[in-house]
């Protein structure tokens, strides 16, 4: 299962999976949905329960069966719910608008149905901007499922054609609508189209306008009273994931024309297969990690690995060289030692000396933290801290870390202490290396050996130009360039390594290239 807690970092949640409907009912009671249940609160933690038997049946009949594995489909329920919490329920700064919205959501079936429908797409859009890979899963999930609002709330039957038209527009980009819905489409489609890609307040605005337009500017509470609607209808609509149905391939062909089915299937296939190659997607996103706490936690977590790496470095960089010598060939310090030994009566054998190997290496790491690295952002940051901590105690080794996405950030300068560095799990934005190269050019180098590591997970937007500039910089400053990638199918001559193996791989390269052979001192 993917690391779902990156979606709502401040919210605790647990997921319970039940293999059969009996187990699900025995645990959750008979009330409500047999598919998915949500409980708890944002403050005290959320709890989710999934009936895998029902979810499996839904997945079997859905049109994304070939593109989305069953486990990912099941997780998409939780993903959808967490995204809703993050982008809708935890939204701040809306003031009275939000309270009016909450109240209307509780009483107005049509408003609730329209909102839930648009909010699912809104969350998908926002998630694709911040966490693209999860955004793809949610997009597939939303295309494969629908909520029949007109069945849940009896009064909504008369709005079925409009609700369906809106759903097809939002999820399948389909605007082939009936003449009866033309006025509705002319008003609602542009408003929702703009709302889902802007902010929540815009979504609320669009929802109020469209709901009022459909109601003919009447008082919804009066209307509900007249229609004698089920009082629980808005409640059920708001818990829409429990009432979800699957879109089969046949239904998909009914929704859109044949040539569009092919386009949609190509889209699904693309979303399902193109993992980790999303250079340029989305905006920068960073969680509010406490850098020093993260550093301390990582040091504590990997203390054995760090000690092991440090030992290897020590073996290589501080190994002693035995120097056969005689009395006249020693320096002042050793003469003093010999004199002291003669006074104390100790044996004065000072014919063998150890020389320490002198290290002088500048290690520079430029790492890609674009949106596509979100899946391993924690491990990525931990690996970096691990290697930096291992070389930290060596006087002659200086380290520098620069992160790049759309821009570049200096995470650790040469003169900065490691515990003051700002290395945290972070991902988001595009993949432009040029700003990082510019930033690197501003740094002063001192080491006799200079090693530059480029870490990337695949595509770099400005690769050609950045690499050209980097090569020139390296040549001018005698820097040795080592390019590593996490993409096994790399086409650009980068050496492949995995995140798990990154600290050891870096250590090997540093040892192999950082050795300054003939430099020794006492």
């Amino acid at each position: 299962m993917d690391n779902l807690d990156v979606i709502c970092p401040g919210t605790a949640f647990k997921i319970e999976y039940f293999a059969t409907t009996e187990e699900f009912c025995a645990s959750c009671g008979e009330e409500g949905s047999l598919l998915f249940r949500q409980g708890g609160s944002l403050e005290n933690g959320l709890s989710y329960a999934l009936n895998l038997e029902e979810v499996g049946a839904l997945w079997q009949s859905s049109c994304v069966r070939d593109y989305l594995p069953m486990a990912a489909f099941a997780d998409a329920f939780v993903l959808s719910s967490l995204a809703y919490h993050r982008f809708v329920e935890e939204a701040h700064g809306l003031g009275s608008l939000f309270y009016t919205h909450r109240e209307r959501l509780q009483h107005d079936s049509l408003y609730a149905a329209l909102f839930q429908m648009a909010a699912r797409k809104f969350c998908e859009y926002k998630l694709a901007q911040t966490l693209p890979e999860f955004g793809k899963v949610l997009s597939l999930f939303n295309m494969a499922t629908y909520v029949p609002y007109w069945q849940i709330a009896p009064g909504l039957g008369s709005y079925r054609s409009e609700l369906e038209a809106l759903e097809h527009f939002l999820y399948y980009h389909d605007i082939d609508i009936s003449p009866n819905s033309a006025d509705f489409a002319a008003l609602a489609f542009p408003l929702y189209g703009a709302a889902i890609r802007t902010e929540l307040k815009d979504l609320l605005f669009a929802n109020v306008v469209v709901a009022d337009w459909l109601l003919g500017v009447r008082n919804i509470r009066k209307l509900d009273l007249e229609l004698g609607e089920d009082a629980d209808a808005p409640k059920q609509i708001n818990n829409c994931l429990g009432n979800i149905r699957s879109i089969t391939e046949e239904t998909l062909e009914e929704i859109v024309r044949k040539e569009k089915v092919k386009v949609l299937q190509a889209f699904m296939q693309n979303a399902a297969t193109q993992v980790g190659k999303l250079a340029g997607v989305g905006r920068f996103w960073g969680k509010s990690y406490n850098a020093s706490q993260f550093f301390l936690d990582t040091i504590k977590k990997y203390q054995r690995d760090i000690a092991e790496l440090e030992y290897i470095f020590r073996q290589n960089f501080t190994s002693m060289k035995v120097l056969e010598s005689f009395d006249g060939d020693i320096n002042l310090a050793k003469q003093q030692e010999a004199y002291l030994a003669s006074k104390t009566g100790e044996e004065t054998r000072v014919y063998q000396y150890y020389l320490k190997r002198k290290v002088s290496v500048d290690i520079m790491i430029i790492r890609d933290v674009s949106g596509s690295t979100y899946q391993f952002e924690r491990e990525y940051a931990e690996a970096l801290i691990e290697i930096l901590a291992a070389v930290n105690s060596f006087e002659g080794i200086r380290t520098l870390v620069i992160d790049f996405e759309s821009g570049a950030t200096l995470r650790k300068s040469f003169d900065q202490k490691l515990n003051e560095a700002n290395i945290i799990p972070v991902s988001g934005g595009g993949t432009n290396m040029l700003p990082a190269v510019k930033l690197l050019e501003e740094q002063g180098l001192k080491g006799k050996r200079r090693l530059l590591f480029i870490l990337s997970d695949g595509e770099i937007n400005d690769r050609k130009q950045a690499e050209k500039e980097l090569a020139e910089h390296c040549e001018r400053n005698e820097i040795e360039l080592i390019k590593l990638t996490f993409d096994p199918e790399d086409k650009y001559g980068y050496e492949h390594t995995s995140i798990m193996n990154l600290p050891k791989c870096l250590a090997q390269k540093i040892i192999a290239r950082g050795d300054t052979d003939d430099e020794f001192f006492l």
Binding site: H173, D174, I175, D176, I177, P179, S181, A182, D183, A185, A186, L187, F189, P190, L191, Y192, G193, A194, A195, R197, T198, E199, D202, L203, F205, A206, V208, V209, D212, W213, G216, V217, R218, N219, K260, V263, F267, N270
Partner: protein, 209 residues
């Protein structure tokens, strides 16, 4: 992926094309729609533009005439002229939900009053009075009074004069309440700066001419 029903705020039919995974909106003549393609455009701006497109001189005259004939009752209007009622409904929603629409409408009204276009100004006032004389929107007292205060602060005593001329108070109970509230506000809550008061008096003179 074309549609003969879906129009953008330019009032042109729109078609969608998926270009490299991105949804791009094109007008019927093949030119891309800058409004719908702009990722920064908000629904409120779109609604405001839609209202501006809808309310041309001809439609304004037609709608003002329909309102007069149906005595400010939306339900009647919807039965007798469904197409016009649909357009009016968009304007009504725009007026009540968007401050951008209100500002634009008041700007147009101001322009007419300053230019001495009395008939045109009365048509605008008829529309504004129709929007404010809807019972549904008067139920939320705070919102209603806020909108009314905006109107009174923008035009002062001209509002009272226009409502009296249009005989809004006679048309419906909501219309009566509107006039009553305008009177009350002008008497007790209208305290503009000296130069604003002078401007409003000048507008009133122009309106009465």
């Amino acid at each position: 992926m074309t549609s003969s029903f879906y129009k953008c705020p330019h009032n042109l039919f729109i078609e969608q094309r998926l270009v490299e995974g991105l949804l791009v909106y094109y007008h019927e003549d093949g030119s891309p729609c800058a409004l719908l393609n702009n990722l920064q455009t908000t629904p409120e701006q779109l609604l405001c533009l839609k209202c501006q497109t809808l309310l041309t001189a001809a439609t304004r005259r037609e709608l003002a005439g329909l309102i007069e004939a149906n005595e400010y009752v939306y339900e009647q209007l919807r039965v007798r002229a469904p197409k016009a009622a649909s357009e009016l409904q968009v304007l009504l929603l725009g007026y009540h939900n968007s401050s951008l629409v209100r500002e634009w409408l008041y700007g147009e009204l101001q322009r007419c009053l300053q230019a001495g276009a009395r008939e045109e100004a009365l048509e605008y006032f008829r529309l504004v009075a129709f929007f404010l004389a809807q019972q549904h929107y008067q139920e939320s007292l705070k919102d209603f009074q806020e909108k009314l205060r905006g109107l009174v602060n923008a035009f002062g005593a001209v509002v009272r004069a226009a409502l009296a001329e249009l005989e809004v108070a006679r048309q419906s109970s909501a219309g009566y309440r509107l006039c009553h509230d305008v009177d009350f506000m002008l008497r007790y809550e209208y305290h503009p700066r000296q130069e604003v008061r002078r401007q409003h008096e000048e507008l009133l003179q122009l309106f009465k001419l």
